[in-house]
Structure formats: structure tokens, C-alpha cells
């Protein structure tokens, strides 16, 4: 090979840009070995080591804050945007790990590989958030997804978990195919997979909207993303997968990977397809309304809490899409803020559910929570706060998040979209309230008796609670950070 070319290529390599995912992957591989050489059934130390790995990675990725690092010929960049989403994913992973250990012991699957898999997923998510080339984004997505397929089906003795893993795998693979095909078509038209290269090409192309191949490619690409964020009508996998997967993994899926998918989504649409704004927002307008409405209305009739939260997470993806429709600074910042908030509030709610579940009976029904508010008053209040935040009631963070997103929509002139959004929030009140009705208003049932309190899960709940309350009462600094990270 030409020596000059190699040298040039090496100059472009900048390991700083991929340091966070690199560190996390190395940790993951080491921990795989650690878990192999650990006695059977002992996983607590692996859990704590992977928690430490996440903290270390957090510090490493902070290096990119206000200090953007581009690498690998501009296909990866560690900028504020990537850092913000990486932090969100790391927080989600951290909370997952904290609530997992005792849960795995209880359910009888204390297997060490679980934690490295979470680390790999997170590395993939961070990779995705920092990808500025469709190929790197795709790589990140695959690393993220493959580990998640395994995690969703982790309880190999349980039919539900198997079903979740398999469903997620088939549909996920299918959607990845869409995405990749879209990348290929776009490459065929534009001759590049770099996002800014595509942007330049589209800008220079006068008839970009009449180029069938380009439009088809763009649509396939967006379909792939919409599948990952579980937007309607690509949401069908969500309820089954969320219900069947181990509860901490469900919590993680709803927060970390979704945030990463939104990160790539935002980068590709707002930077790469900027000149197609009018067309894309028209499509997203419909999709946002559809996603919010489908999620909320189907959630109304759910009896299983996990399934209900799965549908609610669809509707939350719809709220986030509203920010994308707004296509302005507030909207995008709103999505970033909202993803962080959602991580805290949704994972907090799941952490409480992890505690109140029973072995083998972890598919909690809403009625099964009857009397919980009296038997475990503190836990009850905490779950209420998370639910109020999911509803978007002030003074919790959920309100601040929704406010910013809808503010972005109103500022951009999408008043009706904001109206539909708040009416959807009103619908969502009913099913969140139902949980509280069961916890407090029903006569104390005999059903609820079981809580396996443990320190690690308690810590995760406290962290999530602090997040929800602090970001609700003083959202300014966090919003400021998200603003610095947005475009």
C-alpha cells in the first residue's frame, strides 16, 4: 500500500474521539473474563466493577465537553452533543446495574455475562451518539442491538423472555436491514456516507425531492431510526419485548438505547437532511401525533404495569418527536433534556417495580399493587412522584421536559401540534392515575405483601428521585447544559 496514504490515514485517527466507548469496551471484555473466573452464582463484584467502569467512562467522556474531538477522518466526533447523550446512556446503564444484582439473584439467573453485555450495549449507544458517518452510526446501532437481543432473552428458562428476545431480534434485524439499505441508496446517490457530505450534496442538488432513489433511501433510513425509538407505526415490538424482558433491561431499553437512537436521529435529520426540513417535518408531524395517540390510547386498557409503561414509552417517544418537528434550538434542546429526564423518571418507576415483584410472578398487574401505598408508604410516595413526573405534573422534571418540547413547538408555530400533545398528556393522566388508585384508594388487598428491599436498588431509586426533583425545581443548569450540547 502507498505509504503516504497510510500515514495520512493514521493522522486522521484520533483515539480521543472514541475513547469513551473504547474504555467501556475494554472494561466489558475484562469483566467477561472476571466473570468466567468467578465462582458460579457470585456476580455482585462484577456488578460493582461494571458500575465503576461506567463512572470511569463518564469522566473520560467529559473530556469531550467544550473540547470537540473528531477522529477517523471525521466519521466519529466526541462533541458536547455526543457527551450529553453519552452521559444519559451511562446514567441509564448505571441505574440498570444498581437494580439488577438482587433481581438476578431473586429470579435465579446470577450470571456474570449480564453486566458486560450492558457495558457493550452502552458502548454501542455512545458510539451511535458520536457517529457523524452513517456507517459508524450503523456500527454503533448493531453493537447496541446485538447485546440487547441477548439481554432481552436473558431468562432463558422463561417463555416470555425467550419470546421477547426472539421478537426483538427478528424485528430488529429487519429494521436494521431497512436502515442499511437506506444507507446504501443514499451512498449510491450522494457518493458519501458522511453526514455533512450528504448535507452539502443535498444542498447543491436542486431537485433533491424528485430523486426517487434518494427519497427512498432517506425513507428507509428514517424507518430504521423510527423503529429504534419505537415510534408508531413501527412500535409493534415494544409491548411484548418490554413485558417479556427482565425488568431492569426493560427500564434500560426505554431510556438508554432510545436516547442514543434519538441522538443519531437528530444528527442525521437536522444536519444531514437540513434542506429537506419542510418535507421531513410534514412527515414527522403526522408520526408524532400518531405515536403519542397510539401509545396513550392503548396504554389506557392495559392491566400489566410493565406493558402499560411500554405503551407509555411509545407516547413519550411521540412527545420527543414533537421537538424534532419544531426543528429549532428549543425543540432539540428539549429532546435532549427530556431524554435525560425520562431516564430518571422511567427508570425510577421501574426500579420500584423491580422491588415489588415476586420471583416468577414479575409480570405485575395494576391491581396487584393494591394497598402498596399503606404497606410500604415511602416506596409508595416515591412511585407516585415518578408517575406524576411521567404525567408531566409540576414541580417534577417531567413537567419541565414537556414544557420545553411544547415551547419549541409553539415557538416554531406548531400550535395545533402542541395542543394535540397536551391533550395526549391529559389522556395519559388516566392510566397513570389508575396505578395510584390501586396503590391508595382500593381497600388494602392481601395481594401485596412482598418487597425485597436492598441497598443497591435503593440507591438507584434515590438517584432517580433526586434527578426528577432537582431537574424539576431548578431545571435551569441542566437546560443550559443541553443548550450548550445542542446545535
Amino acid at each position: 500500500m502507498d505509504a503516504n496514504l497510510v500515514q495520512e490515514a493514521m493522522q486522521n485517527v484520533n483515539f480521543q474521539a472514541i475513547m469513551p466507548s473504547l474504555v467501556l469496551s475494554v472494561f466489558g471484555m475484562v469483566l467477561l473474563l472476571v466473570s468466567v473466573f468467578s465462582p458460579r452464582g457470585k456476580t455482585t463484584h462484577v456488578a460493582w466493577l461494571s458500575f465503576i467502569a461506567l463512572i470511569v467512562t463518564g469522566f473520560v467522556s467529559l473530556n469531550g465537553w467544550n473540547n470537540p474531538q473528531a477522529g477517523f477522518a471525521g466519521s466519529v466526533v466526541l462533541d458536547n452533543f455526543a457527551t450529553f447523550f453519552s452521559m444519559t446512556c451511562l446514567i441509564a446503564a448505571g441505574l440498570t446495574i444498581l437494580m439488577s444484582d438482587s433481581y438476578l439473584q431473586r429470579e435465579g439467573y446470577p450470571v456474570g455475562e449480564y453486566y458486560p453485555l450492558i457495558l457493550f450495549t452502552t458502548a454501542g449507544a455512545m458510539w451511535m451518539a458520536s457517529g457523524t458517518d452513517l456507517m459508524t452510526i450503523f456500527l454503533g446501532l448493531e453493537v447496541l442491538s446485538v447485546s440487547l437481543y441477548v439481554l432481552a432473552g436473558f431468562f432463558r428458562g422463561q417463555t416470555r423472555s425467550n419470546e421477547a428476545g426472539l421478537k426483538y431480534f427478528f424485528l430488529g434485524a429487519f429494521s436494521t436491514g431497512f436502515l442499511l439499505y437506506g444507507v446504501a441508496l443514499i451512498y449510491g446517490v450522494t457518493g458519501t456516507t458522511k453526514i455533512d457530505g450528504i448535507a452539502q450534496f443535498v444542498q447543491a442538488m436542486p431537485d433533491s425531492t424528485s430523486n426517487v432513489m434518494f427519497i427512498a433511501g432517506g425513507m428507509l433510513l428514517l424507518t430504521g431510526f423510527l423503529f429504534k425509538v419505537a415510534a408508531a407505526p413501527f412500535h409493534m415490538w415494544t409491548p411484548d419485548v418490554y413485558q417479556g424482558a427482565p425488568t431492569p433491561i426493560t427500564a434500560f431499553m426505554s431510556a438508554g438505547p432510545k436516547a442514543a437512537a434519538f441522538a443519531a436521529f437528530i444528527r442525521v435529520t437536522i444536519i444531514g437532511l437540513e434542506s429537506l426540513q419542510a418535507d421531513i417535518t410534514a412527515v414527522f408531524w403526522v408520526l408524532a401525533v400518531l405515536t403519542m395517540t397510539v401509545g396513550n390510547f392503548i396504554a389506557l386498557s392495559q392491566k400489566d404495569v410493565k406493558r402499560m409503561l411500554a405503551y407509555s414509552s411509545i407516547s413519550h417517544a411521540g412527545y420527543a418527536l414533537v421537538g424534532l418537528v419544531a426543528w429549532n434550538e428549543i425543540g432539540v434542546t428539549g429532546i435532549m433534556f427530556y431524554m435525560l429526564v425520562y431516564t430518571f423518571m422511567n427508570m425510577g418507576a421501574f426500579a420500584v417495580l423491580v422491588l415489588v415483584g415476586k420471583k416468577g410472578e414479575e409480570n405485575l398487574t395494576i391491581d396487584g399493587l393494591a394497598g402498596m401505598g399503606y404497606k410500604r408508604p415511602v416506596l409508595g410516595i416515591v412511585l407516585c412522584i415518578f408517575l406524576f413526573s411521567l404525567m408531566g405534573m409540576p414541580p417534577t422534571a417531567g413537567f419541565a421536559g414537556k414544557f420545553y418540547i411544547f415551547a419549541g413547538a409553539v415557538k416554531a408555530g406548531y400550535i395545533w401540534l402542541a395542543v394535540i400533545g397536551v391533550l395526549n398528556s391529559a389522556v395519559s393522566l388516566y392510566y397513570y392515575l389508575r396505578v395510584m388508585v390501586s396503590m391508595y384508594f382500593k381497600d388494602e388487598g392481601e395481594d401485596f405483601a412482598w418487597v425485597s428491599m436492598n441497598t443497591a436498588t435503593a440507591i438507584s431509586i434515590v438517584i432517580a428521585l433526586a434527578g426528577v426533583l432537582v431537574m424539576g425545581v431548578i431545571p435551569g443548569p441542566f437546560m443550559e447544559m443541553a443548550k450548550l450540547a445542542g446545535f
Binding site: E329, P395, F399, K411, L417, A418, V422, A426, M436
Partner: protein, 519 residues
């Protein structure tokens, strides 16, 4: 301290609530006593407001507090912006005054989960006070929503048989309205920013100065007005109220009637009308009609109730109709009458719910047919009940007369003359349903043996009622105490609405799409 009086007053109950969390849950007496002390101290903190003569001379905002809360450059700014004028003054006083009474009423009535009950009461008080003193729309919205949560649990946990239905209905009705208001609030803010108005936040005093185009006002008033109309509640959005009132525990009903319903009428006076003065003109015929329908409908339905508490609940719908009619008269008498009628309704309907609570605690039923001849066994109770009944009817000499009379006079002198004429029949209806109920419950011979051994009011119960009776006469005989502090603020409000009005606005079909560039 005077600089932060409003903050201290607003957040003192919240502080108390945090302390309550550390009191053992089975120590009922301590929990109730502590809550009573907290609410009494809050009342004492608020007293200097009532005795401050500045309200008699100036109708503007006093006791102002201002600090930046959230400021994100280029996005938005929210401020911690408090203040009080002669209108909110009396509502604040009503709130701090009614809370100790509500707490006292729980002494025997609440024995399950007292800790939670007291904590929620105090949280509710912070929410209510905060909503009355907020001068920033965003801050107001937060307090407004904050009130919902404790009330939801008060009804849902300590309520009657249908509590779940009532609590969820209450929550969803109110929240739907306020969510639409939220979009309107955001819109006003961005409209103001884009039109280059000198605003630095969601401050309503700056928003008052905006020159919003009529078509924008139309929709914004709809959003605000809808939200407040649910809270008032105006016919036909009132259906949550009888359910909530009937199912709520006594203390909850008292607070709901005395303060929470006033949030709706206060919202009209403070926000919906002065912010959108042109749109109000368009909606006055509709709103006045609904008020009058509410008066007549509420009275007629109240007449037919078998349950005392339901009767009082429907009478609220009628009373609030008078308040709204007075406000929409848009003149000094009407406005002042409407606002004093808010206070009156708080005092007399609050008292009526307490009275219903007294007999319910004794007999565990509220059916009118179960009672009869109670006056023989409970003379003190009979006297107090009669006074409150007169006050609710609006007999001269009691507070109800002052408010209803002024509201009706105001309406009569404005363009709402015929509305006032029809509404006046409501006063007669009120006499019918209240006196008929009083007669069936208190007069005659004791026909039901279960009523033979009823005890008269205890000292605690008399202590609970006395302050309310005092205000029935105080407002009834010397209303000037209240008007002299209220009128400057009302006048200023009216002037400002008239100045802001863009000449005479033709009522036209709004073509909002062009003006707002809605996508």
C-alpha cells in the same frame, strides 16, 4: 421579614409538612395539633396584610418579590415573581383563615392515616397561597397544578363510597383545562417576544400591556376561560363538582368550596379578562348566559336533592353563578360584588359543609329524610345553622346579601340588565331550597328514634363555627372594611381593561390561520 412576607407565608405550610413526615404515624393527637399550630401560625403571618392601609390608597401590587428563577438565554425566562393587591388580599386571607378551621374539623372525622391527611392539607395550603400571590404565569401554573395532587388524594383516600370515581374525575377535568391553558401561556410569551414587547419573563403585569390582536385573544381567552370555567365550575362543566364535594371528607369539601373554586373566578379576574380585554367583550353574552343558567339550574337541582351535602354542592354552582355574573358586569359594583361574593361563598358554604359534617359524624347519614326535629335536641346547632342558612340565602344583614345585591346591581347597570333580572329569581330559589331543607332537618317533631339522643355541639365544634359566624355578620353589617381595601385594585383593573381595549371591536368570525400563521 416584610420583604419576604409572601414567601414566608406561602412556604411555611410546606415546611410544616416536611416536619410532619418525622412525627410518628400513630400519634394522632400530635399530628393534628401540630398541623393546627402550623396553619394558625400561617394565619398570623398573613395578618399584617389585612391590616396594612396601603391597599386602601393604591390598587397596585404590594409586597412584591422578584428574583430570576430559570433564565436560558434566547429560550425563555421564568421569574419568582410574587405580589398581592386588594383583590388577592382577601382571597389569601380567606385561605389562611379557613385552614385552621378545616384542620379543627378533622378532629373526630379523620382517624385513618392522619399523617398523610395532614401532610396533604399543608401541601394544599402552599399550593393555594402560591397561586393567589404569583405574578408570573409560569409560576402560577405550577402552583395551580400543585393544588390538584393533594386534593386528588384527599378525595380518593378519605372520601365516601364513590371516591375513586370522584377523585379521578376531579383530577382529569381540571387537568385537561389547565393543559390547554399551558399552550396558551407559551403562545402569549412567544407572541410577546416576537412582537418586541419589553418583557423579561412570564410576568402578568407586562403581559397586561401587550397589544394582542383580536383573533389571538379570541383563542387565548377560550383556552384560559375554559380552564377557569372548569374550576369555577360553570354550567355545563360543573359535573365534577357534586361528585367531588359529596365524596370528599369534610375538611376537603370545606377547602374545595371555600378556596379551590375561587381559583377559577380569581383566574378570570386576574388573568383571562385583563389579559384579553377585547375577547372578553365577545364572550360576555355567552358567559353571562351560562352563569344565569348555572344559577337557575343549580338552584333547581339543589331543590330536589335528598342528600344534604349534594344540596350544598349544587347550591355552590348557583352561588358561583352570581360571582361570575357580577364579574362580567365589568363595573365597580359588579366586580366588587363578585369578589366579595367569592369570600362570602367561602365563609357560608364552608360553614354549611362543616354543618353537614357535624350531623354526619353523629348519624353517619346525610339523607334529609333521616332527620327532622333536630332543633329540640341541638339548640346551639340550630341557631348556628339558621344563621348560616340566612347567609347562604342572602338575607339583609348577612354577608350573602351584600355580595349578591352588589353583583346583581352591577349586572343590572351594565349591558347585562335582563340577565340580572332572570338571575334574581335565583335568590328566591335559594330561599326555597335552603329553608325547605332547614325545615325538614331541624323543625317539627322528632320522627326518627335515632335522632332522640343526639348531642349538641361540643366546645370544639362551637369554636370551629364562631369565626365563620363572626364574618357572616362582619361582612354583612360593615362590608366597608373589605371594600375599602378592595376597591382601589378593582378600579385599577377596570381602568386598565378599558384603556387596553382597542376601540369597539366588531364581533367577527376569527380567521386564525392567517393571523397566527399556524402550521
Amino acid at each position: 421579614m416584610a420583604d419576604h412576607l409572601l414567601s414566608i407565608m406561602t412556604f411555611f405550610p410546606l415546611l410544616g409538612m416536611l416536619f410532619i413526615l418525622f412525627i410518628p404515624r400513630d400519634n394522632d393527637g400530635l399530628l393534628k395539633g401540630f398541623t393546627l399550630v402550623v396553619t394558625l401560625i400561617t394565619f398570623v403571618i398573613s395578618l399584617p396584610l389585612a391590616f396594612n392601609d396601603v391597599f386602601t390608597t393604591s390598587g397596585g401590587m404590594h409586597y412584591k418579590e422578584f428574583s430570576e428563577w430559570i433564565n436560558i438565554d434566547g429560550f425563555f425566562q421564568m421569574n419568582y415573581n410574587l405580589g398581592i393587591d386588594g383583590i388577592s388580599l382577601w382571597l389569601v386571607m380567606l385561605t389562611t383563615f379557613i385552614m385552621p378551621i378545616a384542620v379543627l374539623s378533622t378532629w373526630k372525622a379523620v382517624d385513618k392515616n392522619t399523617k398523610g391527611f395532614m401532610a396533604l392539607l399543608l401541601l394544599l395550603e402552599t399550593g393555594m397561597l402560591g397561586a393567589f400571590v404569583s405574578l408570573d404565569l409560569f409560576l402560577f401554573y405550577i402552583f395551580w397544578e400543585l393544588m390538584l395532587i393533594p386534593m386528588y388524594f384527599l378525595i380518593g383516600i378519605w372520601g365516601g363510597k364513590n371516591r375513586i370515581y370522584a377523585a379521578v374525575k376531579f383530577f382529569i377535568y381540571t387537568a385537561v383545562g389547565s393543559l390547554l391553558m399551558l399552550v396558551a401561556i407559551i403562545f402569549v410569551y412567544y407572541y410577546a417576544l416576537q412582537s418586541g414587547a419589553p418583557i423579561n419573563g412570564f410576568g402578568i403585569q407586562e403581559f397586561y400591556m401587550l397589544d394582542l390582536p383580536y383573533n389571538a385573544q379570541y383563542w387565548l381567552f377560550l383556552a384560559f376561560g375554559f380552564s377557569f370555567a372548569i374550576k369555577v365550575p360553570m354550567f355545563p362543566l360543573h359535573t365534577w363538582l357534586p361528585d367531588a364535594h359529596t365524596e370528599a371528607p369534610t375538611a376537603g369539601s370545606v377547602i374545595l368550596a371555600a378556596v379551590l373554586l375561587k381559583m377559577g373566578t380569581y383566574g378570570y379576574v386576574r388573568f383571562a379578562m385583563p389579559l384579553f380585554p377585547d375577547a372578553v367583550q365577545t364572550f360576555i353574552p355567552l358567559l353571562a348566559t351560562l352563569s344565569v343558567v348555572g344559577i337557575i339550574y343549580g338552584s333547581l337541582v339543589a331543590m330536589m336533592q335528598e342528600d344534604v351535602k349534594k344540596l350544598v354542592a349544587y347550591s355552590s354552582v348557583a352561588h358561583l353563578g352570581f360571582v361570575m355574573l357580577g364579574i362580567f358586569a365589568m363595573n365597580l359594583q359588579g366586580m366588587a360584588g363578585g369578589i366579595i361574593q367569592m369570600i362570602n361563598h367561602g365563609v357560608s358554604t364552608g360553614a354549611l359543609f362543616l354543618i353537614v359534617g357535624f350531623i354526619y359524624e353523629r348519624r353517619h347519614t346525610r339523607m334529609i329524610s333521616e332527620f327532622g326535629g333536630l332543633a329540640h335536641k341541638m339548640p346551639i346547632f340550630a341557631t348556628i345553622f339558621l344563621i348560616i342558612t340566612f347567609s347562604s340565602i342572602g338575607l339583609p344583614g348577612t354577608n350573602g346579601f351584600v355580595g349578591e345585591f352588589l353583583a346583581l346591581v352591577g349586572a343590572f347597570e351594565s349591558g347585562l340588565r335582563w340577565y340580572a333580572v332572570v338571575a334574581t329569581t335565583g335568590v328566591i330559589f335559594a330561599a326555597v331550597y335552603m329553608l325547605w331543607m332547614y325545615q325538614r332537618v331541624m323543625m317539627g317533631k322528632i320522627t326518627n328514634p335515632a335522632n332522640e339522643n343526639l348531642s349538641d355541639l361540643s366546645v370544639r365544634e362551637i369554636v370551629v363555627m364562631m369565626p365563620l359566624v363572626l364574618f357572616v355578620f362582619w361582612i354583612g353589617i360593615a362590608p366597608n372594611t373589605f371594600f375599602e381595601k378592595m376597591n382601589p385594585a378593582v378600579e385599577q383593573l377596570l381602568n386598565q381593561m378599558n384603556n387596553n381595549k382597542v376601540a369597539v371591536v366588531e364581533i367577527q368570525q376569527p380567521v386564525v390561520a392567517n393571523l397566527l400563521e399556524t402550521k
